[in-house]
């Protein structure tokens, strides 16, 4: 217990990084996932094929592979650089990996949401002269998103836990920090572990409650 108190600043900093990883990746995954879902319902077969291929490939690749590819493949081999600071650079590379991976799940959730929107909604929108993009943006996606708030919450919770894989390329989020603390406080491994586990609960449980509440509030009444 003392170890947790002594190291609270390090721990809080680590979780602050976890939160930033989650929020940044979650936001980018939502944007990319929405674009992918739009591609998967588009009238253009090429876009549909690209969307489908992306989802099937990314969903079936272990996240660790994706993150290591982003860190080593993009970062070292292809020399993709966001910052002169090495740690900031790896942070962004891990955000790219987490977003790219999570987007596939977001896409599928949104696509399921699109299927819950009655075809008559899109038809009525077409009938007043909305273009395909206006129809998607103003009529179909708002209703689709509102019907998948709860699954999107689950994806966000999974993402929160998945950020620990950024440790694989040295991003000092919670799990890497826990490992470091284990080494420094060999006598306090169990309390440290429970401390970190509880901290994750503190992040994910309210997220779940919030999204359940939101999904009820935002539900479209038909």
């Amino acid at each position: 217990m003392q170890a947790l108190i002594d190291e609270h600043r390090v721990i809080l900093e680590a979780f602050w990084l976890t939160i930033r990883l989650t929020l940044a990746s979650g936001f980018m995954a939502l944007v990319l996932g929405t674009i992918l879902a739009a591609m998967r319902v588009s009238p253009l077969p090429v876009l549909r094929a690209i969307g489908t291929a992306y989802v099937n490939i990314v969903r079936n690749t272990p996240l660790t592979l994706v993150i290591v590819f982003c860190g080593l493949g993009l970062g070292l081999v292809l020399d993709v650089s966001f910052s002169t600071s090495l740690s900031t650079n790896y942070l962004w590379l891990s955000i790219i990996g987490l977003s790219a991976y999570t987007a596939a799940f977001v896409c599928e959730a949104i696509r399921a949401g699109i299927n819950t929107v009655p075809v008559g909604q899109a038809e009525a929108a077409r009938a007043i002269g909305l273009t395909f993009m206006q129809n998607l943006r103003l009529i179909v996606l708002p209703q689709a998103l509102r019907s998948v708030v709860a699954p999107l919450g689950n994806i966000l919770i999974a993402l929160t836990k998945n950020t620990t894989i950024a440790a694989a390329i040295g991003v000092g989020e919670a799990s890497l920090t826990m490992k470091t603390l284990f080494e420094a406080h060999g006598d306090a491994v169990v309390p440290i572990f429970f401390g970190f586990a509880v901290a994750f609960l503190v992040l994910t449980l309210p997220t779940g409650l919030l999204f359940t509440w939101l999904s009820k509030r935002l539900a479209v009444i038909r």
Binding site: G120, E123, A124, I128, G129, T131, Q134, P142
Partner: protein, 251 residues
């Protein structure tokens, strides 16, 4: 009858054919609709009435023949198709009001997003139209909070908000409880009297007799008979029409 003195027909369907797979749903349809005319389309279920309606604003494509609207062949896609659709209102059997938008938003969305009308102006006009169909007091509610008859009247106001050159009605009262049918028909009769060009798929004979200039009877994807309402209902010329009328009259 023609407000702008334009005697050219508004819609011309020429030798229109349509298949769904191997099913031949529209067979050599020839139909001309004049400006200000009210055409009632009647016929057994599955005879192609909805498909005919939907072909006019290209919600369904056709695979033979031509359709011209206001002198122009129907645009195939993109902006030009969207513009065509904005000029042809459509009222569906199942209302299809935008479920996540308020009643007023349902009516102002098209003018704002398609026509570029300023919000304040669109709302003023929207309220005016809602008042006209008797829904003014419900403007801030959501569609699910309204009765079927009210929703269908909103759907008509939504179509009117685009200042369409014509409105297509696909069985607008078939999904309604009997006590709500009349309130919707009343709005439609008024529109007809005001000179709106209308194609109405309906089995409501009262409406056809009061408001229609012409009845088109369809069976098996063909136009079997066309006549003035009174003649059609009292003295149908074809066996198919006689048979069909005897069935709906006994209901």
């Amino acid at each position: 009858m023609t407000e702008n003195g334009d005697a050219t027909p508004l819609v011309v369907l020429k030798d229109v054919n349509k298949h769904f797979g191997s099913l031949h749903v529209l067979r050599d349809i020839n139909l001309t609709i004049s400006r200000g005319e009210v055409v009632v389309v009647i016929g057994p279920s599955g005879s192609g009435k909805s498909t005919l309606c939907r072909a006019i604003n290209r919600l369904e494509t056709i695979d033979g023949g031509t359709i011209t609207f206001d002198g122009q062949p129907l645009a195939a896609e993109g902006k030009a198709l969207a513009r065509l659709r904005s000029e042809v209102g459509m009222v569906f059997q199942s209302f299809n009001l935008f479920a996540h938008k308020t009643i007023l938003e349902n009516v102002t969305l098209g003018p704002i997003k398609v026509r570029g009308v300023a919000r304040a102006e669109a709302e003023r006009r929207g309220m005016e139209l809602l008042e006209r169909v008797g829904i003014g007091a419900q403007a801030s509610k959501y569609p699910a909070q309204l009765s079927g008859g009210q929703q269908q009247r909103v759907a008509i106001a939504r179509a009117l908000a685009m200042d369409p050159k014509m409105i297509l009605f696909d069985e607008p009262t078939s999904a309604l409880d009997p006590e709500m049918v009349q309130e919707v028909l009343d709005v439609m009769v008024r529109l007809a009297a005001e000179g709106m060009t209308m194609v109405v798929v309906t089995h409501e004979m009262g409406f056809a007799r009061r408001a229609a200039d012409r009845v088109v009877f369809m069976a098996d994807g063909q136009i079997v008979e066309e006549n003035a309402p009174d003649e059609f209902f009292t003295a149908p010329r074809t066996e198919r029409a006689k048979d069909f009328l005897s069935k709906i009259l006994t209901h």
